[in-house]
Subunit: 299 residues, 5 copies
């Protein structure tokens, strides 16, 4: 297990600390862990994600779910934030996702274009901004350049920056794929080197060893891999994402190992809102029980 | 049927509300529905579209038709707006279409370049601006970037933004084509996620199932598809476009199903002005009869 | 009588024409005349103006009155516009008053500072902007400079500019006072020379001849004076203001002479809302009867 | 009594609503009332204010007091905010006071210069900004101009603007003084007309009638005066300031009448921290009991 | 041997001299030589570099090592600098590496994107900035353009610019590879021609003669090659890099030849921190012994 860093030792500016403190200690469990509800899949995958639970198509349903479930924040793209967040402004923290794309064109050279600016997030009352960095994409020059401006603006305005560190693109596919321990670990480190305050990673798969660089082609348990990823992130807090909908037990085990590794929390979307209402709250309850076991000391 | 959202619950700024209110309640039927006359086909397809009714080549003819037919607005590119709108300024709302292209080059990687700025629309007295977003195009990064600036300018100046959400490009063709339920639904959602106030979509064809993503490869009626599209748009008002000229009955049925689904209105160009003058007014009359059955409550 | 200029012969841009057309032909009597309800006295004089009719302190009361009375527009400062206009956006045109001051300090060197920008007016959905130009003030250099930027911005954004042309300051007082025919005529001409689209003047008092420049020290009827003022304004439309509350008959006579002189309309505030509700609507009704006798031809 | 406006009917942007919601419903009593602890007197009056209770000279003492006392926020100038707020960032809302002055020079032509920008407040994690507007000062042109930029920046960044509306300057003194009902009422209205979200006023003294404008020279109770002031502020929330240290009973009565009039809360500095620690908490407790009787409905 | 240029004859601005003087004479051996500890491999290669010595994953470990080992500076990317340098600010000079990339995509057309600006380096208290220039890359136009802005900013702010002059890309591979004497010599000269204050080069391999341009296809000793490289750099100080971890003796020999050639110092990362703690300090000690033999005269 890697010790989760304390909020007070991250060398954050007052504004970033104020906002992260709010997210971590005044919402959700209020114990320094975080559980976010992401809702940008309508753009990233299209409305097909809403078919398992048609109610989930309506942002109002999701916002209600976020407050009912005691989440630490909700993640929206600019359009939904502008038209739906007002009703809940101040009741649940907003993470404005600044870039995003449809999955219709090929992602061989994936780059997620900016759809909103940091200043817009501040104007909307968001407590954090999100940016998808496609680690390893052939378009990495344009991506890093775009990211750099986001990072600088987030610093200027004192708002925490959460990086969706996603290995992606043809070069990643050629080196073991986007979920390998190698790729996830590299992605976490890249976010940390480039100044993310929080990094969202997929759970690493150490068993995907084909074509990955040494020494990742060795034998590692998922716990070892998770530990390494959190260690690579250093003073960048780690959120583990849920990914595509999976069985409850697998989900809970993934959450347990993540928290044991020193992650700060979870960011689960489809696994939550693709279930019908009560089932989603039941899963949320189980996940909160896990988070409750990993409190940070109150600063 | 999806309930059409009220103008007062869209979280619009005062300027956007003032202008949409004007369009929806002080022109046309004045009952909260909208019927727009688009006239940018001279750029998009070339003058070939005017051959069925040569009079339609003259913007004065179209502007007169728009007032005679009781439309809620007319859509023009910058050049025609500058040279012809003055005569009708204040009598019929103007939607300035900000981007547009010829259809001479391939649209495999389609991108519709900006031809005018939002500020020019305001200076011309327009009550809304239009932007064509090619959803799914390989050029989506450039498109989203260009769009983002338009959205921000429209917000800054309080003018409603109508997005022509058109699935387009080689990746769309490979996944079922631009009129499939899958593509139209994704396009509507994309416009909503990216902050359109109004979205113009083509009528969805649920029978085009080849190569589309699950669950769109299932059996859906056109009414089910239309309902879903309006639901995906959420607080973004929906206009259904007429597309290429078709028979009267098909046209009316499409209009009926759209309004039944909760659309706010119609945007029919060629189907109107490619008929000779009296026939076009007769069709307009029939369509207005449909719109009259779907009033919004006066705010 | 001076012939009132037609909207179509003022050489307005499309945007200015669209907005003035809307004000003049789609609100109020819709006959090309205008009747505005100004409500910036809370800043210019303080809440003491509301004591005669305490309900008038509430902007909601005033906005309701403006729609009930069939006014062509309401005049607000930025703060009230932002917090109260949304509810009526699109139902009644807004004139955003861009500058304004308290009357606590001396007005010997009066200058009315800017409180909002033209762009904010556009964003709020205003159909015109208002600017107080203190004609003859010792601070005229700063005033003209400030005005010039407002005029340019109004042109750039196609929004009509209404100038409150107020003779004011110690030099005006030394030359016959702010209500003399001399001062009002000079003020109207100044607004016209400096590019106002509409000018608001006080009714001229040709009998105040002491210390005024020749030939204003001669004998003129009020009708002659009013005619001259409208003539001086040329293609700048004239609104005559109500000033402090006065008796009904004086009020109506002033209105009659103004319209007879070729004014486009009236702008009466305290004379309207300092009466109790029904009395104010009765006065409004009488004034509308006068305006109804001076239609402009529909363009 | 004037009905206190609801947070949801103030036509605030999402960002302003989020931040005000936080202040009003997640800190202090959490019932929609507000109790702020101002601590800018070290600049405004100098350290002489700290002599009654030397501990009060230390910002750490004050920040601790603010959390112990359950305040809704603390008010600091930029220097103290930068050096002391980090320790409490996220635990107690910060109001960054943007302008301020020493009281050494004459305030005949008072103007309070800007010491920090709105963007710095956002970067520090502040939930509101404060601006002193000297209503009626001969320097009102410079003051309004300076204020306008602050207002626009606060809008752009979605942060609530609290205006210290202080009648001040030789013209105010000549018209009855800064605490008269006339002056306070005019100040509240000025803040409202110019777009303040919240206004801080001194408690009005209707008995100071010498030289004030009619009808303020009539007989009014303090409750009538307080009611009028809140009514003049309209959708601008009212905070009543404590002013110089006074006896407990006078203090509590002032608070009671303010809340009864529809004020949103109190902003008491010297009356709190010039007492020794336990006495100050006792007074705070008594004031909170009053606030507890005037809850707003949870939005 | 080429005579190492004196700091005082480099025609540096005062700011650049002040900072280089600090690095060269107040840290490390204080004798005008330099020994830097680079730590950007987590981005350039990913966390795999940390597996040989897991402690090295933690920036705190590295910063401690840098002070224990008496280095002249540490090299960090922006993210680690922001979150970890504060603890050591003032104790060890910081070189902020401004650009960097992952090694996942192909480097056939390598370009290292900017991740931070020179101004950020100054704000962080850095004493130098680092920039990777890929000499010979097909992307050289973009690289030179990007570099030019960095150089100009470094000049404007008086901070020394260290160029990582790396031959790279498909054209270099076709002409003998990135470590050939030809390529390294050309890279050193390029940095000098383009205004680097310090250049970091790999040790040249004169034996790699296949496909290199004449006369580099002749016979040269490593010492001759090293001499030539330092001579090519002229008044640009030379640092020789360690590259991948190698045996101690090879390492020391390389260092000796470099210093003999007139280099100013060394920049060894993986060779240092991939060893366990005490072994790394032992190697550092041996390298310092070499540097001690090549002092510059105290200016």
């Amino acid at each position: 297990m890697t010790a989760r860093p304390l909020l007070t030792e991250l060398r954050l500016s007052a504004g970033k600390k104020a906002r992260l403190h709010r997210i971590l200690f005044q919402y959700g469990l209020g114990n320094g862990t975080a559980f976010f509800l992401p809702y940008d899949q309508g753009l990233e995958h299209g409305p097909r994600d809403f078919f398992p639970n048609p109610a989930s198509s309506d942002p109002r349903y999701i916002l209600r779910l976020a407050t009912e479930g005691g989440f630490n924040g909700i993640v929206l793209q600019i359009g939904l934030a502008q038209k739906f967040y007002w009703d809940y402004a101040g009741e649940i923290p907003l993470v404005l996702k600044l870039n995003g794309r449809t999955d219709i064109p090929s992602d061989a050279r994936a780059l997620s274009p900016l759809n909103a600016r940091v200043e817009e997030a501040v104007r909307l009352g968001a407590d954090a901004v999100g940016y998808t960095l496609y680690v390893g994409t052939p378009a990495q020059e344009a991506d890093f350049e775009q990211y750099r401006h986001v990072r600088a603006a987030a610093e200027r305005l004192g708002i925490p920056l959460i990086v969706w560190a996603y290995p992606r693109g043809e070069a990643v596919e050629a080196k073991g794929g986007k979920d390998s321990f190698y790729a996830v670990d590299y992605a976490a480190r890249t976010a940390s080197e480039l100044g993310a305050d929080v990094v969202k990673v997929n759970f690493p798969h150490p068993e995907r060893r084909a074509n990955v660089k040494a020494p990742y082609d060795g034998q590692y348990s998922t716990q070892q891999a998770a530990d390494a990823v959190v260690r690579s992130a250093g003073r960048t807090l780690v959120l583990v994402s849920g990914g595509t909908k999976a069985g409850d037990e697998a989900m809970l085990e993934k959450a347990r190992e993540s928290m044991e590794a020193g992650a700060t929390g979870l960011i689960f979307g489809r696994n939550v809102w693709q279930r019908e209402h009560d089932a989603s709250l039941r899963l949320v309850g189980s996940l909160r029980e896990i988070l409750a076991k990993y409190p940070s000391p109150m600063p």
